[in-house]
Subunit: 315 residues, 2 copies
């Protein structure tokens, strides 16, 4: 019997791709079956990358889109201090030439991010459409300690606020790519835009060091710091903005997609965290400010800071 | 502090909607934290509904789209014999008037399907876009018996093939709606198209009765029976097609989205299954044919059957 169909053939090639170099299971049935380590809870999240909204296919490859989608979702696990277990990928792909090359290109990037992060892709779905949409659901595990995950709620007056790295490189990379200068002049910036990395080890260590609240910088430092403060019903007095080399302070505050982590933690915990990062060979986090009791305070160097950043217009 | 943003407001309304009447948790953080019942494995799947591909918004409401997306994903759990635990919803929504009404309408339908199935929505993501896309990931649990889930692989020569109900009602409903007759003449058919129901109880009972192979009818009876046979490396001799009232045999074979279950099981198990369905008040399944050893055989009433059905054209 020959299958008179093209979708099933593309799916078979995706299965082979994902099984090459990583323990992939499922993908052959309606659903995948996972063994979950006993004891700890499951941490779950979903994130999407939409062509024309989050990415421009003239500035990055289909593989970049796949990479960004999986890493963006994994960043949500990092922000909870969880360890990746498995991912499921839903693709909506324009018909185009109908040869499946865009689908396979996106899944190549997903497979690369899967290998880089150790997160197996165990299921997926592919549909036609008029716009590329990649939605990734990630499942993570957490040691059975209390708390099992770090929420946004929990920052306390007197906490210091740390950021795991400088921000704005992704936005600066996009700016350079738009100017047609993504290649030779500033390869690091373009790479930050095309291949961001979720801070999984940093998130887990911050949780173990007793972080009170944590989230990732996906929509811009200013908006995400504001969200952390609002969720915790506290104010923030910021002293400094960690700006990536080649980026502007505006890009660091409003650019988004840096996937660095924001961590609110007491002073003793902060010292422990810095030591642990150092002994694991991770970049030293930057202290950006202090949590204050008055929830109406949101300042940078004493001036009111606008919580600007990426927001979707939703019909 | 006022948030100068619209996305965050829409998300807050979605949270209130999902918490109204069902135990919803998470939705406030980067990720949700789930307690997983000890012992059994986790069964996971993802499924999408795309405007213009799977649904036409002139023939069904935003709420219908949300309902169909969650039920379609749950049908994959039903086909494994799993019990729903939680769902995550990724929405891509055109900007339109920017008032969030389409987003909220879709999520109303998701919330209704969530209540009807007992599957809590624990996380989500909303993006802009130029086409409505609803991707739903579902997590299910399974009793720690062997096998923990029923795959497509496993149908054996001599097995009977059962279908949990007549097919084609969804396709016939779509036909009636396109003719402008979805309302009064044939309300049942339109309802089958707009509000399909995943066969969760049937799937679990079939697994407990020892089903050898199982899958749901999402792309048409002929194509999905062919997939079941191909996965199991067996042939099928079909005697009959269960056609829903008001539908044609062609619609039953090629229509899709019926979400009835195909079950391959030995004769003794089939008897047990029919008894269990009866004692639980479920519809009596229809026997459609027999599994044969020769994998080149795929016949209906002795004539070769074309495995036609829905296939995406993928770029």
């Amino acid at each position: 019997m020959t299958l008179p169909v093209q979708e099933d053939e593309v799916l078979q090639r995706i299965r082979r791709m994902l099984e090459n170099g990583i323990e992939a299971f499922g993908l052959r049935d309606d659903a995948a079956v996972l063994d979950v380590p006993a004891g700890g809870p499951l941490v779950v999240s979903v994130d999407s990358v939409v062509e024309g909204i989050h990415v421009d296919l003239s500035l990055c490859s289909p593989g970049d889109v796949g990479w960004k989608a999986l890493m963006g979702a994994l960043s949500d696990l990092a922000a909870m201090g969880a360890t990746p277990l498995a991912a499921l990928v839903a693709l909506c792909v324009p018909g185009g030439s109908g040869d499946g090359q865009l689908t396979l290109g996106v899944m190549e990037g997903v497979a690369e991010a899967s290998r880089a992060s150790g997160c197996a892709v165990v299921g997926g779905d592919v549909s036609g459409g008029n716009q590329l949409v990649v939605s990734v659901t990630v499942l993570g595990t957490s040691e059975p300690i209390d708390p099992p995950a770090v929420a946004r709620i929990g920052a306390q007056p007197g906490d210091v606020v740390l950021v795991t790295g400088p921000c704005g490189a992704s936005a600066a990379g996009l700016r350079e790519l738009r100017r047609g200068r993504g290649g030779s002049d500033t390869p690091g910036l373009a790479e930050s835009y095309r291949r961001p990395v979720a801070r999984l080890r940093e998130g887990r260590l911050a949780r173990l060091a007793g972080a009170h609240a944590m989230m990732d910088v996906s929509d811009g430092l200013a908006l995400d710091l504001h969200r952390l403060a609002a969720a915790s019903a506290v104010g923030l007095e910021l002293d400094s903005v960690p700006v990536a080399a080649g980026a502007t302070e505006e890009e660091a505050l409003g650019g988004g997609e840096d996937y660095e982590l924001l961590i609110a933690i007491d002073v003793v915990g902060a010292g422990m965290l810095v030591d642990r990062f150092s002994s694991e060979g991770l970049r030293r986090p930057t202290m950006v400010g202090l949590v204050v009791e008055d929830a109406s305070v949101f300042t940078l160097r004493g001036q009111a800071l606008q919580p600007s950043g990426w927001q979707h217009r939703l019909g």
